[in-house]
């Protein structure tokens, strides 16, 4: 080992004597005679070696345990199924990031690639034991907040749907807060511009405020006060004031009229509803009328009976008329027989007529 260095010693200075220069004149501590190994018994040496072997074994166990633990923690011993998510932008997505469901990690991104058509294809490994949370109706989102990394999340609305088959491909919905900021700033700028325009010197709001100020000035002025402020000039305000006075007077006279009307009403009340008033008389008259009506009802009943009898008489008369018809028919037939008899007699001689002539018209 020692001979290595002398390769290219620099010319002038004493070459850095490399290992083993036989230790010439070094002022090394002479009080340090090489004491290679402290005297030790064979037994203590054996125990030392045993302890060293135990330490070696301990370390081997530690390394094996650590490797196995890390593999287990990374899901190396878990059966997984694939899920492919497509999106238009892979920003924020990294290999190894979690896909969470209700806050629990249920999958891990294993690969990101550029697919056909320029979209991004994210490979997600979902452990089979967690795959039942994903259904065919599940929705996947990629959210990017202001602080922290992007988050890949799965939402399942209907847990009764059929489970998501292995190797399915789904679209990812993106929600990017930082992408919203420029739009928000633009909107805020518009609002500020509008406010600026509203509060500008020639704006409608400013004009309205000026008018308002004029109004309040007039309101506070000595001449006319509120009325002058409302009507605009002092003369009108005075007329309004006069109007109010007249109205007041009118109200007073109306008050007197009302008092008088009140007296009249009271008197009418006494005459109509008083002891000798109209209403008691009317009540007595009604009572009498009631009695009269009852009498009239009885009379009508009697008339009704009379009428019934008259009806019977009339029926008899109708029958008599029918019989009279029959009688008349009998008489008529008797007369026709007599007539025929006379005719017969007339035809017989000496009763025949002297001349028989037919006169033509």
């Amino acid at each position: 080992m020692s001979s290595s260095a002398p390769g290219s010693p620099p010319p002038e200075p004493p070459p850095p004597a490399l290992p083993e220069p036989a230790a010439p004149g070094l002022p090394a501590d002479p009080a340090d005679p090489a004491e290679p190994v402290p005297p030790a018994t064979r037994r203590s040496l054996r125990s030392l070696e045993l302890r060293a072997a135990l330490l070696l074994l301990f370390m081997a166990l530690l390394i094996t345990g650590a490797v196995l633990y890390l593999m287990w923690a990374r899901g190396a011993f878990e059966a997984t199924q694939k899920l492919y998510l497509t999106t238009d932008d892979s920003e924020g997505v990294s290999v190894g990031m979690d896909m969470s469901f209700s806050g629990f990690p249920i999958g891990r991104v294993s690969r990101i690639e550029l697919a056909e058509g320029g979209t991004v294809r994210i490979h997600v490994e979902v452990p089979v034991k967690d795959a039942h949370w994903l259904r065919i109706s599940s929705v996947f989102t990629l959210e990017k907040g202001l602080v922290g990394a992007a988050r890949l999340r799965a939402f399942t609305g209907i847990l009764d749907d059929p489970p998501l088959p292995p190797g399915s491909e789904r679209m990812v919905l993106r929600g990017d807060v930082s992408a919203e900021i420029p739009r928000m700033v633009a909107d805020a700028r518009d609002v500020l511009q509008n406010i600026n325009r509203l509060t500008a010197e020639e704006s409608a709001l400013s004009g309205a405020m000026r008018e308002l100020r004029g109004f309040t000035t007039r309101l506070n002025s000595e001449q006319g006060g509120l009325l002058a402020a409302v009507t605009g000039n002092e003369a009108d305000a005075r007329r309004v004031s006069e109007l109010l006075d007249r109205g007041n007077r009118l109200l007073k006279s109306l008050d007197a009229v009302a008092l008088r009307v009140d007296g009249v009403v009271r008197k009418a009340d006494a005459q109509v509803l008083g002891q000798d008033g109209l209403v008691p008389d009317a009540q007595a008259a009604l009572r009498q009328l009631n009695a009269l009506l009852q009498d009239a009802r009885q009379t009508v009943v009697k008339v009704d009976a009379v009428l019934k009898e008259v009806q019977g008489v009339a029926g008899n008369a109708r029958e008599a008329t029918v019989n009279l018809g029959d009688l008349r028919a009998d008489v008529e037939s008797s007369l026709r027989k007599i007539d025929a008899l006379i005719t017969e007699i007339n035809r017989k001689w000496p009763f025949a007529p002297k001349e028989k002539e037919v006169k033509l018209p």
């Binding site: 080992m1 020692s2 290595s4 260095a5 390769g7 290219s8 620099p10 002038e12 200075p13 850095p16 004597a17 490399l18 290992p19 083993e20 220069p21 036989a22 230790a23 070094l26 090394a28 501590d29 340090d32 005679p33 090489a34 290679p36 040496l45 030392l48 070696e49 302890r51 060293a52 072997a53 330490l55 070696l56 301990f58 370390m59 530690l62 390394i63 650590a66 890390l70 287990w72 923690a73 990374r74 899901g75 190894g96 979690d98 990690p105 891990r108 602080v147 922290g148």
Partner: protein, 277 residues
């Protein structure tokens, strides 16, 4: 440089530049040679470490004893100290995360800061100060005292008898201390975040699994091993050579320590670049 100045005094500045360049070149050469020696010794030791002849009956005992001397005595103290330190750091990180409403990142931050970054570094420094630098110094004295020659005279290779066991002991100690502290730190982080309950085990395992992805695990393992190698190899390699004298005449231990720090810094930066870029 001065010689050159005598020859052409009129062009003093040009020659001083020449001299400066010459000195710089020599410095660079020395530096390269120094590191080459370290690498060469490391390669020799690697060959020896993987050859069964180094573990014959007589040397196996020596290796085992050095393994125990490197790791055994410091293990309880270091683990206790790191546990206390872990509790403090975990508490600070968790409370801060709570205060800012970033609870979900607390565990991540704790595991990344402590397990991935701090513990391997601290373990390596502890082993360096506790074992490898004193051991290197011991080796240096042995060599300067002619111990190596005596060994050779007896037909014993000092490299496999004295150097290899120390290097292996240092590497083993760093790995063991770092591993034990990482396990303790993971347990403490769980208790700090979830308390004494089993309820959070599933989510905790998931979080740890997410942090230790293959790349991070590989970088973590490589970093720890490289720290261990750096911490163990440099003091031994420096003990096997005579460092050029400097004006300040710093001791071998100190020069070795500075070199070691530089190397650890490079390893740490490389691991950070690998993890976070």
């Amino acid at each position: 440089m001065t010689g050159a100045g005598d020859i052409m005094p009129a062009m003093g500045t040009a020659f001083s530049l020449y001299g400066w360049l010459l000195q710089l070149g020599r410095g660079v050469l020395r530096w390269v040679l120094g590191w080459w020696l370290v690498v060469f010794i490391g390669a020799q030791l690697a060959v020896l470490a993987f050859s069964p002849s180094s573990y014959r009956r007589e040397t196996r005992g020596v290796v085992l004893r050095h393994l125990y001397n490197a790791a055994g005595p410091g293990l309880p103290g270091f683990t206790t100290l790191m546990a206390l330190f872990n509790v403090v750091v975990i508490r600070i990180v968790v409370v801060t995360a709570f205060a800012y409403g970033l609870t979900q990142y607390a565990l991540d931050a704790v595991v990344r800061v402590l397990v991935l970054e701090l513990i391997p570094l601290v373990a390596a420094l502890f082993v360096a100060v506790e074992y490898t630098i004193p051991s290197g110094s011991e080796l240096y004295k042995l060599r300067r005292g002619g111990g190596f020659q005596a060994m050779r005279a007896q037909g014993v290779d000092p490299l496999s008898r004295e150097v290899l066991p120390r290097v292996l002991g240092g590497i083993f100690a760093v790995l063991l201390l770092a591993l034990v502290s990482c396990v303790v730190s993971l347990v403490l982080a769980y208790i700090a975040v979830h308390g004494f309950t089993w309820a959070g085990v599933a989510s905790y395992n998931h979080a740890v699994g997410t942090i230790f992805n293959p790349v991070v695990s590989l970088i973590f393992g490589m970093k720890t091993v490289l720290f261990a190698v750096a911490v163990s190899l440099l003091p031994m390699a420096n003990a096997l050579r005579d460092l050029p004298r400097r004006a300040s005449r710093t001791s071998v231990e100190l020069q070795g320590l500075v070199q070691m720090f530089v190397l650890m810094l490079v390893i740490e930066i490389a691991s950070l670049v690998g993890n976070y870029y």
